[in-house]
Structures are given as C-alpha cells and as structure tokens.
C-alpha cells in the first residue's frame, strides 16, 4: 500500500498536456489494443477488473457498461462526468489539467466497449482553464487521427452542483434546467436523448487505459481485493500539506493525514475528518486507523465517496460547520422534490437558532427528525447529502450541540475557525420561505 502513480503517471516528469509527450510514454497505445477486442470481450475484461466508480457511488464500471442496451437501434452515448463540485474534491480537475490525453484515451476505449461513436465530456463551468486544456487536447488528438470515427465534445456547464448527479447532468446537456429524472428508466437503457448512455467520472475513465495495459488480473493486484487500483485523494482543511495524493486503495487514513499530508496544522489536535467530500458522515480521531477503500469506510458507517478528506482541527465549532454545509445543500437543491427543497431550509433555520443561542434541547431532536423526513424521500441523493453529515455531527458531537443550548450561545465565543462563515451571496431568495413553526 502506498504511493503509486497511474492516473498521474508521468505528469511530474513531463508536460502531458502535449500530445507528443503523452505518446512518448506510450500514450494512446491501448486504443488499438482495445479496438482489436470485440466489445463483448472488452466489457468482460472491464468487469473482471472490478474498477469501482470514482465519482462517489462506487458502482463497478464494467458492470455499468454491461447494462448498456447495445442492441438498441439508437446511437449509444458515453458521457464523462467532469462536473466536480463536491466540497472537498479537486481530483478530476488535476487529471484534466495535467493528463488530459489519458482521460481521452480512456474515453476511446470505453466508447468502443459500448459501441458508441459519441463522447460528451461535461465539465463544470467554473473550470475554464481546465476546459481550455482539455479542448486543446481534443483538437490535437482529433487532428492526429487518433479518434477515428469517434466524436468527442467538451461541454461546459454553467454553475450548478446538482449537475454532478448523473440524470441532472443529462438534462443539462440536453439544454434544460439540470434537475434529476425519476428512475427507471435508467441511463443505460434511456439516457441522453432517450438513448442508451454510459456515465462515468473523470478518474474512472482515466483509469481504463491502465486496465488494458496491465490486464484485469494484474490491475487487481493493486489496491485491495474489493477496491482495486489507485485513487487520487484530495486532502484539504487543517493539514500542513493539503493537496492531491495518488495512492493505492487500502492505504491507511492515518498515513494519508499524518505522513503524506504532514499532519494537523500547527501541531493542533485533530477533531474530526470528513472522509469522502462534505456529504458523507464524519469520523472522529479514534476512527482514522482505517484502510481507505470502499468496503472499510462503509463498515464504519460512512462512505468512500469522492475520496476527498476534509480535516478539521479543534478550533472548529461543529454547529457552525453544520450550518455552512447545510446552507450549501439548500443553495444547490434544484427544487424539484419537496423534502429536499423545504427540508434543507428547515435544517438551516434550526441550526441558525442553535448557533444564535436561542435553541432548546428539543431542537436537537427536531433537527434529527427533519433529517429523517428528507432521507430517501427524493428523486436523487442531494437531500440525503445534506442530512448525512449533520446527523453524524449530531450523533458524535451531541454535547457540543447541547452546549449551545445550555450556555445560550456558541461555546467558542467568537473564536471558532469558521466564525462568521458566509452563505453564497447569490443565495436564492425564495419568497415566502417556509418558517419552522415555533
């Protein structure tokens, strides 16, 4: 377990944004190899590799490909989800900025597997620099004749977290408001333009060339049996050396935080770690001796998610952090499903009341009960993402929430590291906002 470059291999030594440099390290050599295979054999190889989706859900990539209705008379589409917006995640951005051709090579292989000639890469609008790098890589590879019959279109989003949700992304790509669709039908049967569609995260697709190069069997020797391969871990918050670290799956969380990321800033005490991006349940310092893989994190009640660790030291008030997190999900709720749209607003109001010192102990139960009425009750998981962290803060740091009630205000007395935290200034002002009954 430990450091191993796969997604970013060669990027420290060479400028892999240049086609010639990428080719010099064997780039695009897996495309003819994959194209020489039948789609059935290629899908079998991808399934054997058991590569799990890097976007957050961890669904096996090869299995997803096998679900595509390849007999459909309609075109098949491959869509790459580059709408990276989960707070804490910045790995896809690095792959696109430093190894864009590896992503494109993965696209060509994955497209062949599902008999698709049309690839769309949906990149979040804020990533303008990365869009330009990727668009140039597409142009260079196309001119060099690498794409063959395959069309690759890079599509810029326009600022909406929810478009990272796969069906919302499809609606956005179709020129609509990005709101999730009811399922079934699932995208492999009816996705983009109602045609069979495979949707994968940037890092998932960028791992595909390595699978073809090594073969499924050797690929599975990297990482853990249940979670093979490497992952780029995004580490942020109160650590000495925040940044991206590509490591084998199964590396210990303690090693990542204390060895690679240099430990807690200024030698302070660790208070909590959010392991997979802001939407997943938080861990306490006693829980960090855990291998970083899908199953191990699942076993301790959280999620591997987007492999994005937010490290929090003892200066942070968790009621404030919960409030900031919930304001984000409230802002990003697309408004389609009532439990998420209204529930996140209720949660914000209760947390504001607690932070002001106007809360009662019964508000802690009310917060939990509002959360339980959001969980699993909407078309997509955004509402759940608002609830998971807050419910876990409440469970693991209940005394801190209760202290806000007992002391009639924030026990940090204005000294919390996230004191005064802002909601976005374009916060949608819906009028009237439903108030939590007194």
């Amino acid at each position: 377990m430990g450091v191993r470059s796969m997604l970013l291999a060669g990027a420290d030594e060479r400028d892999l944004t240049k086609l010639s440099e990428y080719r010099a390290i064997g780039g695009y050599e897996q495309v003819p190899k994959a194209r020489a295979m039948s789609p059935d054999d290629l899908i079998a190889e991808l399934q054997a590799a058991t590569l799990r989706g890097r976007g957050g859900a961890g669904f096996p990539m090869g299995r997803k490909a096998s679900l595509i209705d390849r007999k459909s008379p309609k075109p098949k589409y491959l869509v790459v989800n580059a709408d990276e917006s989960e707070p804490g995640a910045f790995k896809d951005r690095e792959v696109m900025a430093r190894a864009p051709h590896r992503l494109l090579e993965g696209c060509l292989i994955a497209a062949h597997a599902i008999e698709s000639n049309d690839v769309f890469i949906y990149i979040r609008g804020e990533y303008l620099t990365e869009y330009e790098i990727l668009a140039k890589a597409v142009e260079d590879a196309r001119k060099a004749g690498i794409f063959g019959e395959t069309n690759v279109t890079v599509y810029r989003g326009a600022g909406a977290y929810i478009c990272g949700e796969e069906t919302a992304l499809l609606d956005s790509l179709e020129g609509r408001r990005g709101q999730p669709r009811p399922r079934p039908p699932f995208p492999p049967i009816q996705g983009l333009y109602a045609a069979p569609t495979q949707i994968n995260n940037v890092c998932t697709i960028a791992t595909v060339p390595a699978i073809i190069e090594l073969g499924a069997e050797r690929f599975r020797e990297i990482g853990t049996p249940g979670s093979p391969g490497t992952v780029i871990f995004s580490v942020s918050g109160n650590v000495e050396k925040p940044g991206n670290y590509e490591l084998e799956l199964g590396t210990s969380m303690r090693e990542l935080i204390y060895t690679h990321a240099g430990g807690i800033t200024g030698g302070r005490q660790l208070k909590a770690v959010i392991p997979g991006g802001s939407s997943v349940p938080v861990l306490t310092p006693r829980q960090i001796d855990v291998p970083l893989d899908y199953d191990s994190l699942g076993a301790i009640g959280t999620f591997f998610g987007a492999a994005s660790l937010i490290v929090i030291d003892d200066r942070c008030c968790l009621v404030q952090l919960a409030l900031r997190s919930t304001k984000f999900y409230m802002h990003e709720s697309c408004g389609k499903c009532t439990p998420c749209r209204e529930g996140t607003r209720w949660m914000v109001q209760i947390l504001e009341k607690l932070e002001r010192g106007d809360g009662e102990l019964s508000d802690l139960d009310l917060l939990g009960s509002v959360g339980s009425r959001i969980l699993g009750k909407s078309l997509c998981a955004l509402g759940d993402f608002a609830v998971y962290p807050v419910a876990s803060y409440l469970e693991k740091f209940r005394a801190e929430f209760a202290a806000h009630v007992e002391q009639g205000g924030c026990p940090f007395g204005g000294e919390s590291s996230v004191e005064g935290i802002f909601a976005p200034s374009d916060q949608h002002t819906h009028s009237p906002v439903a108030q939590v009954p007194a």
């Binding site: 326009a158 179709e174 942020s236 109160n238 925040p242 900031r324 590291s417 005064g420």
Partner: protein, 159 residues
C-alpha cells in the same frame, strides 16, 4: 444586443448543428449572449437566443435562472468570487472576504459604485487543497490570504 447579432445567430446555429438535438445549444448560446451583453442577460437576450434556437424566451430565461454563472441583473466589468465552502472556511476564507469588502467598499453580492467590480461569495470552486480560492474573471488565484487582497484588487482595476 445589436447589429453584431446576425453574426452571433450564425454562430449559435452552427453550434446547434453540432448536437443531435439543437436544444443542447441553449447553455452555450446563453453564454455567448451574456458575453455580448456586458456580462448579463436581459429580456432581449432571451428573445434573441430563443429566436436562434426555436425556443421561447421564457424557456431560455427559465434555463438561465437555474445556473449560478448566468446573471439576470447588470454586473461589473470584472468579477471577484471568493469560495467560502468548508475547506476554504476552515482555512480563513472569512478574513479574505472581509479584506475584499473593505478594499472594494461593497459587501458580497454587490458591484462597486464605479461599475468596475462585482464581488461575490460563492460555493466550492474545486480548489479545496489550495485554500482560499478566489476566482478573478474566471481565473483561479489559490492560497489567497487577506494580505494579498489589495494587490488583487489593484490588478483587476488596472486591467
């Protein structure tokens, strides 16, 4: 919108032809309209995009209003956006916001009196390991501290 609109319409129709369904060109077309209308979308913009794509202006407005990067009211010539989500907040984004507010003389969400700079606080920009992230005219500045703010503002105003 003005005489240049014909050329823009051509561009949008070409864009529309690149997708299996021309509706997919809505977001790129709105972006183009915004760029040519001093950074925001007015009712004429929606009429123009609608005409070019065979959609109603109301549809175009409905799409635009969904996305944070489309502006439905006038904005300054430049934009300064400070990320205040968790990782940046943990790393002192609030001090950066305060510094911009004092340097620009307007709170987040507003444009300076001279119409030069629109200052906003925004959600996660995807630079969490390089906090605090500030997007200046859509280009990221990373590891920004309060003391960097005066020179950023000076650079924007001079640019």
């Amino acid at each position: 919108m003005n005489a240049a609109t014909d050329e823009l319409t051509k561009q949008v129709r070409k864009l529309a032809g690149q997708f299996p369904d021309s509706r997919s060109a809505t977001i790129p077309a709105l972006r183009l309209a915004q760029e040519h209308n001093d950074g925001w979308l007015d009712s004429e913009s929606f009429e123009w995009v609608g005409d070019a794509l065979g959609l109603t202006p109301a549809y175009c407005q409905a799409v635009a209003s969904f996305y944070d990067m489309f502006h439905l009211a006038p904005v300054g010539r430049h934009s300064i956006e400070v990320c205040t989500n968790l990782s940046c907040a943990l790393s002192g984004a609030q001090q950066v916001v305060d510094a911009f507010e004092s340097e620009l003389g307007v709170p987040p969400g507003e444009t300076t009196e001279d119409g030069e700079v629109t200052f906003r606080t925004v959600e996660c920009l995807g630079g969490c390991g390089y906090a605090t992230v500030v997007s200046v005219d859509n280009r990221y500045r990373q590891f920004v501290k309060a003391e960097d703010v005066p020179s950023i503002v000076e650079g924007v105003r001079g640019g």
